[in-house]
């Protein structure tokens, strides 16, 4: 059927085509630009809805195009892809709405939204890539599409951050390329398939496969901000708030983490990776990253910087879950892919609101901000509690499964990592909440940009997106056990990755 082939392409095009049009729009065409943005976002959601229905009914959506002899571009909608695609599309819609409100009246908006759309196009491509080459293609495209967003403000500081961002990500891309070519030389086309495909290679290639694994993981680890490859992330927060939100929740960091998921589960296969003893070193790196990120977050006064270090730590939870050998750990890692996205985007939206409304950038300036902006602070509180892992919020579900998974995998020391990290999370989030809710507010807000108007504490387009994602944080936690929840979907995926598992 034609639709089965072209639907994945349509999902990619639904943001690419509006994006390309937007590049050519004059700055003043605000309404047309907004329409294009929203039509793209809703079209993408609708197409994904159709595909979700199809995937549940065992439809195969595969698009193949031969780029060179022996090199295919494959877009495929499998269960794992659908999880990430849905997350990206939903959060993209919210971020677009937020960005429209955030950038009202700012210069260079056509350029911004053009690259913004390209960025999402690349993310969706990363999600639906059906083989390692396609993944690499969109992964690099993501680097290029985000650079103009990071340097959008054009200040010396932004340009420096952009420079460092490029140095890290292009370097990582080079490693990924070497690994990919090498693996293609060994195994032909490396398609993503549940359970992996490399275990059929002759045993004498084991050494090479270990080196390739190192190259691939280092390549995607740069974007996933694994310590010591995380240096670019705290600097990149000079970007406008919607960009930070997208970078930390769905696009760049998540693409890296998703890459690790794909490589471990669907290239090597978790069982084969375990037999090559590749999982334990990765688990140790992830644990160090979790603790280091939390520890560094503790000492940041700049709110966005604190959140950035928190991302370093939280994304490593996903990696940790991947390395826990056993379905429960897998569920924990994959479900956190979604949960971290929802929670982190809420926090960044709120940080943007404080900055845009009251000119607050630092934690030390946040005294009593909850009185002035109760709804934003409520959303922030839900996000922060989620990150700490307070039940019944999303973060709790993730940590519960990670803990159980650690026991199942026979790695009880991971429990200690989780406990210490949760304490650290509390240590860097609770003081913020305390300041915001319980300290007295100053007489006046010196840098207030958006005054109180008809009961709205800030512009509606800035307030509604974080409210919605905060509500989602609560809902995915409360209804985790129901059908179609992220947890349910992660369980479905985990069930397919283990070929010979007997608990």
């Amino acid at each position: 059927m034609i639709a089965d082939t072209w639907l994945p392409v349509a999902v990619v095009l639904s943001s690419l085509v509006p994006g390309l049009f937007i590049f050519f729009l004059a700055e003043s065409r605000v309404r047309l630009r907004t329409t294009l943005n929203l039509v793209g976002a809703f079209a993408k959601l609708a197409l994904i809805g159709v595909m979700l229905w199809g995937v549940l009914h065992d439809h195969e959506y595969v698009f193949t195009h031969t780029v060179l002899p022996g090199l295919d571009l494959v877009l495929k909608a499998d269960a794992l892809a659908m999880l990430f695609v849905t997350l990206s599309a939903v959060l993209w819609l919210f971020t677009t709405l937020y960005a429209i409100g955030y950038l009202e009246g700012a210069p260079n908006r056509s350029r911004f939204f053009g690259f913004f759309s390209l960025c999402v196009t690349a993310t969706v491509g990363v999600a639906m890539a059906g083989n390692l080459f396609t993944f690499f293609l969109f992964y690099e495209l993501l680097t290029l599409a985000t650079y103009p967003l990071v340097v959008h403000r054009g200040t010396e500081k932004a340009l420096r951050a952009g420079h460092i961002y490029l140095a890290y990500t292009l370097g990582g891309g080079a490693l990924l390329l070497i690994g990919t070519v090498w693996l293609y030389g060994l195994a032909g086309q490396v398609d993503f398939a549940p359970g992996g495909t490399l275990s059929t290679l002759p045993p004498d290639t084991a050494g090479q496969l270990q080196i390739i694994f190192l190259l691939l993981i280092a390549g995607v680890g740069v974007k996933a901000a694994l310590v010591p490859l995380h240096g670019w992330l705290p600097l990149a927060m000079v970007a406008p708030a919607p960009v930070s939100a997208l970078l930390h929740a769905v696009a760049v960091v998540k693409a890296g983490a998703f890459g690790i998921v794909r490589i471990v589960y669907e290239v090597y296969g978790i069982e084969f990776a375990q037999s090559l003893s590749l999982l334990l070193p990765l688990a140790i790196v992830a644990s160090i990253t979790i603790l280091w990120g939390s520890l560094r977050a503790l000492f940041q006064d700049d709110l966005k910087r604190r959140l950035a270090y928190s991302t370093v730590s939280q994304v490593a939870y996903i990696v940790l879950g991947v390395t826990l050998f056993g379905p429960v750990g897998t569920i924990g890692g994959i479900v956190h892919l979604v949960h971290q996205g929802i929670m982190k985007i809420t926090l960044f939206f709120c940080a943007g609101n404080y900055a845009e409304t009251l000119g607050i950038h630092k934690v030390s300036e946040m005294d009593g901000v909850g009185r002035r902006m109760p709804w934003t602070t409520l959303a922030f509180t839900i996000g922060a509690f989620g990150m700490i892992g307070v039940p019944p919020l999303a973060g709790f579900i993730s940590k519960w499964y990670l803990g159980l998974g650690a026991l199942e995998a026979g790695m009880p020391w991971v429990l200690a990592v989780l406990a210490v990290s949760s304490l650290l999370n509390a240590a860097y989030f609770l003081p913020i909440l305390h300041r915001a809710w319980f300290r007295p507010p100053p007489e006046t807000w010196p840098h207030e940009h958006i005054p109180l108007r008809r009961g709205w504490e800030t512009a509606p387009l800035l307030l509604l997106p974080p409210m919605a994602t905060a509500a989602a944080t609560l809902i995915v936690g409360l209804f985790a056990a129901s059908a179609f929840s992220p947890l349910d979907w992660a369980t479905l995926i985990a069930g397919r990755e283990y070929l010979q598992w007997t608990p």
Binding site: T66, G154, H163
Partner: protein
């Protein structure tokens, strides 16, 4: 098919005709005529490619005489691919040049006639079937190129042109010496006659001839360390000329090196010689990129980038010489793909750089502020061309790099992998050096004036083609295989 409809001779005759007419008609009507004729040439090249895919490589006897009395033309897949590249680059550049010379009239009168002559020489070179004919076209091409460098007048361009003239004459002189030695040994210059005669037991004169010819051609291609003439010539000429020279002219001598090395002198090639050529290529990549990084003039940066990108072309020789057939195949494909990708991307980059210089009124990387805001499409074009040169996907440059990397790993020559990866990162460094400056706001006292839309769009078309080449390049690789052994 009636003989006079054959696209092969027309690809040579047409540019000669419009070049001559442009001389008579003047630059205004000459430019329009050239653009119409180039559309026709593009169609002819496509027709020829289609014929070759259907019926295989073929010869054409000029005037019905045929060798050894007359002149034979011969087209195989490799020639057809290069013909396609030539017309695909020349057409948008002609549109660009028409807009460009409306803004700056310096050198406008001579541009069209010499370009016609140059394209005729190029097309003839690709389909020449004997060594002497190749010499004639090579000399014509070199002289036309030197003429184009000099058309702007002034001290610096003329000095650069003279230096270029010296290099190109030296190169073709060495080549001609080689041809003479071969003719003295075998009494023929026809590639078809010579191919079975040259074996690994050939006399020393033939080896000497091969060395002379290849050296001469490398000098003309500006392979490191023979690159000294290129940056001033390419960096000093008017933008459309720089684009034509960097995209096409150096590819012609590269094409001949490939032809001679892989076909005619194949029995004489050794691994050591191939490694040496590869080492020169590697040195070109690193040295050219480093020098590009230190430039302060935009066009000099782009010119040094050409020096570096030429290096990738020559990596094909160590990868294709006495290695497994699979590796050799992908090496050739990678080398040719690099020639195509660089041709399109470098033409786009020089054109975009030209627009930026017209808009800012000076050739200075440090004062590009405001270009990002005023000429977003041109900056985007520059960036897209940069993506191809860096070898990031999806682009022709990526396909080329992928094929070369694959060949390197398959033949166990991992050191070229390191060179290519480092080269890609250095390329990113100098491309983003430009982009980063252009994102800055316009500096005090500087102004950025808009340029005609046609300059922006023609350059964009070239950059877009270099990207699309990476997505739809597979048929070209099939075409390349036409007439190659297998």
């Amino acid at each position: 098919m009636t003989d006079w409809l054959d696209p092969l001779p027309w690809l040579i005759v047409l540019p000669l005709v419009w070049g001559t007419l442009a001389f008579v008609l003047g630059p205004g009507r000459g430019a329009r005529l050239a653009i119409v004729a180039l559309v026709l040439q593009m169609l002819l090249a496509l027709q020829l490619a289609a014929q070759l895919v259907d019926a295989g490589a073929r010869a054409y006897a000029v005037g019905g005489w045929g060798a050894p009395l007359g002149i034979d033309l011969y087209a195989d897949g490799l020639a057809a691919v290069m013909l396609l590249l030539t017309q695909a680059v020349a057409l948008p550049l002609a549109v660009y040049a028409r807009g460009y010379f409306a803004a700056t009239t310096k050198g406008r009168d001579l541009f069209w006639p010499i370009t016609g002559l140059m394209l005729a020489a190029l097309n003839a070179l690709f389909v020449s079937a004997d060594l002497f004919n190749i010499y004639v076209t090579l000399e014509l091409l070199g002289l036309a190129a030197v003429g184009l460098v000099a058309i702007a007048g002034g001290t610096a361009p003329v000095t650069a042109a003279l230096r270029y003239l010296l290099a190109t004459l030296l190169g073709s002189g060495a080549y001609l010496l080689g041809v003479a030695l071969i003719y003295g040994t075998y009494g023929s210059v026809s590639l078809e006659v010579l191919a079975p005669l040259i074996t690994d037991e050939a006399p020393f004169a033939v080896t000497l001839a091969a060395a002379l010819m290849l050296l001469g051609l490398m000098l003309k291609t500006a392979l490191f360390p023979f690159h000294f003439w290129l940056p001033p010539a390419h960096g000093g000429a008017p933008a459309p000329v720089s684009a034509l020279l960097s995209a096409l002219v150096i590819k012609a001598s590269f094409y001949l090196v490939v032809r001679l090395w892989l076909d005619l002198f194949e029995p004489l090639t050794t691994v050591d010689a191939a490694q040496l050529i590869g080492a020169l290529g590697a040195a070109a990549i690193i040295w050219g990129s480093l020098l590009a990084l230190t430039q302060t003039r935009l066009k000099m940066l782009v010119a040094y980038s050409t020096v570096a990108q030429i290096g990738y072309l020559f990596l094909l020789f160590p990868l294709a010489t006495l290695t497994l057939p699979a590796a050799a195949d992908s090496a050739l494909q990678g080398g040719v793909m690099q020639a195509l990708a660089h041709g399109l991307a470098k033409a786009a980059m020089f054109a975009a750089a030209g627009s930026m210089i017209v808009a800012t009124g000076r050739d200075d990387i440090n004062r590009l502020g405001g270009v990002g805001a005023r000429l977003p499409l041109t900056l985007f074009t520059f960036g897209m061309a940069g993506v191809t040169l860096m070898g990031l996907p999806p682009s022709g440059g990526f396909s080329a790099k992928w094929l070369l990397l694959q060949a390197a790993l398959e033949s166990g020559q991992w050191w070229w992998v390191a060179v290519m990866v480092v080269g890609g990162l250095l390329t990113a460094a100098y491309v983003f050096k430009v982009l980063r400056r252009a994102f800055l706001p316009v500096a005090e006292g500087d102004s950025v004036t808009p340029v005609p839309r046609v300059l922006e769009f023609s350059a964009f078309a070239l950059a877009l083609a270099s990207i699309l080449l990476g997505v739809f390049g597979a048929p070209l690789m099939d075409l390349l295989a036409v007439g190659r052994g297998a």
